[in-house]
């Protein structure tokens, strides 16, 4: 196999512990379950919007306009599926239902003329996990199965989610170059966007942002530096997928940028920020180390086998 072929094979299919994917499953479905129910709420109000405003994009061109009865029925089904996927009970069916129903419920709010870009990566992650063997460890299903060994089938889903996140940032950088070129940095474009975000008239449904973003706008150069760093960061983000060293700098920068976008201009990239915190860190190793360090492990030691990933309490 050529060097490039080996690198390709290694990138997607190096052996990985089943627990690496299990952590992603538990955290991601758990996060969706908690946040969608409590914070985002049902998309039912969209069923009341007049048909005149229905403006489907992409996959939704093949899907029907929502009605209240379907949404009332699908909303609890989705949350039950998310809960089952989280604990790993009937995992395969639960992840598929979570994806198919979530595709509709999460996406439908963007099909009435105003598309938010905050949840695309959430849908793609649901799709990847629906096709992945993410219930093979740390799940109720795994208690009934024989232990699984490390394999490439636990790596490609994680790598695919990383690539999807990479595309969010790099696409945003490319769009800025296509639409504005490097004048996006040299002009006052970012300062004007920040001023709009802080205008009472423009998007006043966002929470008040305190005003220090406008202090930076008045100072001038900090916003120019922010514009240059933003574009450089977005265009360089593909390195995070390829290099662990680059990841150490780029991933915390991504999280910081998402937080700054909220405080400066208003949009909340909650799902993207959560996925950044989840997908780049080997949390299964952290969990294993934490379990091994528990003071009561002599009596009740959590033994997480490297191969089987079955949680045994003895």
């Amino acid at each position: 196999m050529s060097g490039l072929g080996t690198a390709w094979e290694s990138f997607w299919f190096d052996k990985e512990d089943p627990s690496a994917l299990a952590v992603v499953r538990i955290a991601f479905y758990g996060f969706l379950l908690l946040t969608s129910w409590k914070y985002w709420g049902t998309p039912r109000p969209w069923a009341e919007v007049p048909a005149e405003f229905w403006d489907p994009i992409g996959l939704f061109a093949f899907l029907p306009r929502p009605n209240a009865v379907w949404i009332d029925a699908l909303w609890p089904v989705w949350h039950i599926a998310l809960g089952f996927a989280c604990v790993g009970l009937f995992t395969r069916a639960a992840t598929i239902v979570s994806f198919l129903v979530g595709l509709y419920l999460v996406g439908v709010s963007g099909m009435f003329g105003v598309l938010s870009h905050t949840n695309h990566v959430e849908i793609i992650t649901l799709g990847v996990l629906a096709a992945a063997p993410c219930g093979d460890a740390w799940s109720i299903d795994s208690l009934r199965k024989s232990a699984r060994n490390p394999s490439g089938e636990y790596r490609w889903p994680i790598q695919t989610i990383r690539v999807a996140i990479m595309f969010v940032y790099s696409s945003a950088g490319i769009a800025k170059l296509v639409d504005s070129g490097f004048r996006w940095i040299s002009s006052e474009t970012l300062a004007i966007y920040i001023a709009r975000g802080n205008s009472y008239y423009y998007e006043y449904h966002y929470p008040p942002k305190g005003g220090w973003a406008m202090d930076l706008v008045r100072a001038g150069w900090p916003v120019q530096v922010m514009a240059a760093s933003t574009l450089a960061f977005e265009l360089l983000f593909p390195l995070a997928v390829l290099s662990k060293r680059a990841r150490i700098l780029l991933v915390p920068t991504a999280v910081t940028m998402n937080v700054c976008a909220y405080y400066f201009m208003g949009p909340m990239f909650v799902q993207l920020t959560f996925l950044n915190l989840l997908i780049w860190v080997p949390w299964h190793r952290v969990a294993e180390a934490t379990l091994a360090a528990l003071p009561w492990r002599g009596k009740m030691m959590a033994e997480v086998t490297r191969g089987g990933e079955v949680l045994k309490l003895r």
Binding site: W12, P45, E48, V49, P50, E52, F53, I57, G58, F60, G107, S109, F112, G113, V114, L115, H117, H120, I124, G127, V128, A131, G152, E153, P157, T160, V163, F167, V168, S171, A172, I174, A175, V178, D179, G181, R183, W184, S187, E188, T189, A191, I192, A195, R196, N198, S199, Y200, Y201, Y202, E203, H205, P208, G210, G211, M214, V217, R218, M265, P267
Partner: protein, 149 residues
């Protein structure tokens, strides 16, 4: 396993590359154009709905609470997209009026005789202070559509 994996990887990568190449939305793939347009002026344009009361007085329908789940920003975007197509804009404005009247018992807004859509140009300033929640001054207001009950 490889076949399924490559299939998923191909959908994600090709879907996203197509959205980038075409620079258009292919939900759930996107070219993520947020804040990408060049801004030259310290102004911003917004499409606003105004209601005309029975007595002829015109009032701004500033909040989106009359048209839940739309926010005011969403209404502006919807009207802006419809503006190049006069017939579509008229239809949408008529739908907004019917929607408003249909929900009067819920939102408790005043009875309207008609609904108007304006393109409003606001002045932005570096001195803008969100701590004081001062409103940006209006530079101009242009009627773009009007509908009767």
């Amino acid at each position: 396993m490889r076949g399924k994996a490559y299939c998923v990887i191909a959908i994600v990568v090709l879907g996203q590359l197509t959205a980038i190449a075409l620079q258009r939305e292919l939900w759930p793939f996107s070219h993520y154009p947020m804040y990408s347009g060049l801004q030259a002026d310290w102004t911003f344009e917004s499409q606003r709905l105004y209601g005309v009361l029975e007595g002829g007085e015109e009032i701004p329908l500033e909040t989106g609470s009359y048209f839940q789940p739309y926010e005011a920003y969403d209404i502006s975007e919807v009207l802006a997209k419809a503006t190049p197509d006069r017939e579509k804009l008229d239809r949408e404005l008529h739908s907004f009026l019917s929607w408003y009247q249909h929900g009067e018992a819920v939102h408790g807004g005043p009875k309207l005789r008609s609904l108007r859509a304006y393109r409003v140009l606001y002045l932005l300033s570096k001195e803008l202070n969100p701590r004081k929640r001062l409103r940006s001054p209006v530079l101009s207001r242009t009627l773009i559509a009007d509908t009767e009950r």
